[in-house]
Amino acid sequence: MTSKNSNLPDAEELLITLAQKLKPLLQKNTALVGIQSGGVWLMQRLLVLLDSTITAHAIPHGTLDVSFYRDDYAQRGLKTENRPSQITFDVENKHIILIDDVFYTGRTTRAAMNELFDYGRPASIALLALVNRGGRELPITPQITAADIQLTAAQNLQLLQNTDGTLRLELKLAPPSTHQAQHTHE
């Protein structure tokens, strides 16, 4: 049920924009945290693009799988495939930049923040998303995005990874029962 993606922005171009916007924010006490799985793909690409800056500031990074912290866990349950969260650095007093692919309701971000605080007390948390697709349900919004698109609840924007590691956006029709919280990741 994939519609023609002709008017969707190109994920690879957005990635470059995102890297440019992120670069000035990186400093000594910053840490990057990607949310599984699209946010982790983005982070890995950003690490390569910003390699010199990241290395110069010795910026640590980690990943979060927020499924244990989601508010809709009782309805949705666990994914069959869990990827453990890996935060190997000390969260205490870090300026954390959370990385997600598509920002929608804000519930994933809330879950990610709750999980982060179980590792320690960060100095600040900022949110970076490739695309803000509109439709937030919480007082949360990304500080850094490469594109803003208004989509309806029946539409489901996903970031997908090609076999060569490049990324692409795809618009699908959301399954009727889960469209509220459904976004991204495949």
């Binding site: 244990f68 349950g77 890996q86 605080f117 976004h183």
Partner: protein
């Protein structure tokens, strides 16, 4: 025949036995447990998965380790936990099991962890409870102890990731051991090609080879070139019957000493479900030695129990979703 452990969509509804659980579900439990191992290393050792749920530990038979690890697992998932030692409470006043269960359901329990000396007790309770309530078997008679079997699989997989290339020996009182049955079913389902049991004839069930194992009565032959040695507890009360001549005799023949362990592969690991009888089935130098993974088993037991409770409480959605 329908499997009472699975719901109509093939998802885990109760955990009663490793027998009859498809490989996919076993692997899913092991993979989910992997995510929970890290929780213990955080500053806050809790995730909010079971927030607001009540887990009842119903122990009709004594246990310290199993009950404690179930309690810790439930608490790390943010559940409320009630542990009932039923021996000392209502049963001694004559209440039936199902009355006890019904009373706890009336108090809005969401999950039961059941240990009982009678085989089938957890099945019996699982058949009785309404649909939204889940039952985990924490050991029933000689029948099954699935979370022990699963934590053993998890431990083996941690040290020997390629299960399809392993030779595993289970040593000791297989006849009375629910742990051995759970291990054998899990090992064969997960595709371990060679599972051996080593025990005197009096401590082996009739036709044990039908479970897909090779039978040895001699430690030297049985331990040769194995990758994993799974010891079983010799229950002292068995000594009173005519099954074994004496503890000393048993240790000499079937006790795991370093000398016997040297017949296994040099990197073989040693497991024991606890509690250990040092100097009966296992020598202290082996139990505390560098091939022993007995304490990691206990740690991994918490992650396995967290995984099982999380899967039961939330169901599992097939496919990959965010």
């Amino acid at each position: 025949m329908n499997n009472p452990q699975l719901d109509a969509d093939g998802r885990l509804r109760h955990l009663l036995s490793t027998e009859g659980l498809p490989k996919k579900i076993l692997n899913q439990i092991l993979d989910t447990a992997e995510s929970f191992v890290g929780v213990a290393e955080r500053e806050v050792k809790k995730v909010p998965l079971l927030r607001g749920k009540t887990v009842c530990n119903l122990f009709f038979e004594n246990s310290t380790r199993t009950r404690t690890t179930f309690e810790i697992a439930a608490k790390r998932l943010s559940a409320d936990v009630i542990s009932l030692n039923v021996n000392t409470s209502s049963q001694s006043k004559g209440e039936t099991i199902l009355d006890t269960v019904d009373n706890l359901i009336a108090m809005h329990a969401d999950m039961f962890v059941v240990r009982h000396s009678q085989s089938g007790a957890a099945h019996f309770i699982a058949k009785h409870v309404p649909e939204h309530i889940h039952v985990i078997n924490a050991g029933d008679g000689r029948h099954s102890h699935p979370t022990q079997g699963l934590l053993d699989m998890f431990t083996i997989r941690k040290y020997k990731p390629d299960l399809h290339n392993l030779r595993v020996a289970i040593v000791g009182d297989v006849l009375h051991s629910r742990v051995a049955r759970s291990e054998i079913h899990a090992l064969t389902t997960l595709g371990v090609p060679e599972v051996r049991v080593i025990a005197p004839k009096t401590l082996l069930p009739a036709q044990v080879e039908k479970l897909g194992v090779q039978v040895f009565h001699d430690m030297k032959a049985g331990l040769k070139d194995v990758d994993v040695v799974m010891m079983l507890r010799l229950q002292n009360e068995r000594m009173n019957g005519a099954m074994l001549p004496s503890v000393q005799e048993y240790f000499k023949t079937y006790g795991l000493t370093q000398e016997k362990l040297n017949l296994a592969k040099p990197d073989a690991i040693v497991l024991h479900p606890g509690p250990m009888n040092r100097g009966v089935e296992i020598d202290s130098s082996v139990a505390d030695g560098k091939q022993s993974v007995i304490l990691p088993q206990v740690t991994y037991g918490i992650a396995i129990r967290m995984a099982v409770m999380a899967m039961l409480a939330g169901g599992q959605i097939s496919g990959n979703q965010s």
